[in-house]
Subunit: 137 residues, 2 copies
């Protein structure tokens, strides 16, 4: 309890990484408030992000650091890093150009559960770039 | 690859629960866009949320369903549920009253990394209620 209180009320940044050494990070557009994507960071990705002010994540599928935009060109300039009460989740307030999702949308959250159903989605956004063009390099 | 494409481009809602049977869910204020908290859902919590339109999570510490607001009174009315490209993360667009964080703040993200440091936080919000009052019941 005392250790919880310390985590919640003090000014020491002690992010809690999970058993895999990862912490989830939400990229949120600093201007519009739109949630763009959720990815994971290990300690090294977080350190690089703090040092460079450009978002670097850890790709769980590729098991490697992933400097956002290194392939697609759609990088994230980090304006502010927020942490939650128990310090097991981060928000990156970012400045971006168009198209943060590899599928071609501005945000990875381009579908919503359809009203009155529990298993059907509807698209709520239009693609803003052609991923075939962006990733052909 | 084909299965990825299907997950990304179609309208079947097939949320991916992790090895512990959980999926992260971000509660975002439907009006202001503020990210309020991040919690986890198991299948039952998600079903109840869809059915009741009130956010129910799974508490990893208590290992039990957690109907948001059942103790504090600060419930979340769910307006929309969004899912990301690979369907392993949800956003709940919610309507709320004051004070979504158990520490007393509107949002759990009430601290930011201080400019020029990698280990010091600064408070970026004021408390909006007294948790001692809300949880004394």
């Amino acid at each position: 309890m005392s250790s919880n209180k310390e985590t919640e009320e003090n000014v020491e940044f002690v992010p809690k990484f999970d058993n895999n050494g990862l912490i989830p990070a939400i990229a949120q557009d600093a201007t519009t408030g739109q949630i763009l994507m959720v990815a994971y960071m290990n300690r090294e990705a977080l350190d690089r992000t703090i040092q460079t002010r450009r978002a670097t994540y850890y790709s769980r599928s590729r098991k490697a650091l992933w400097k956002k935009g290194e392939e697609s060109g759609h990088a994230q300039q980090v304006e502010q890093i927020l942490v939650d009460c128990d310090q097991d989740c981060l928000i990156l307030k970012v400045n971006v150009d168009a198209g943060q999702c590899h599928v071609g949308y501005q945000s990875c959250f381009y579908r919503a559960l359809k009203d009155g159903t529990d298993n059907k989605l509807e698209f709520i956004a239009e693609k803003v770039y052609d991923p075939k063009e962006a990733y052909k390099k």
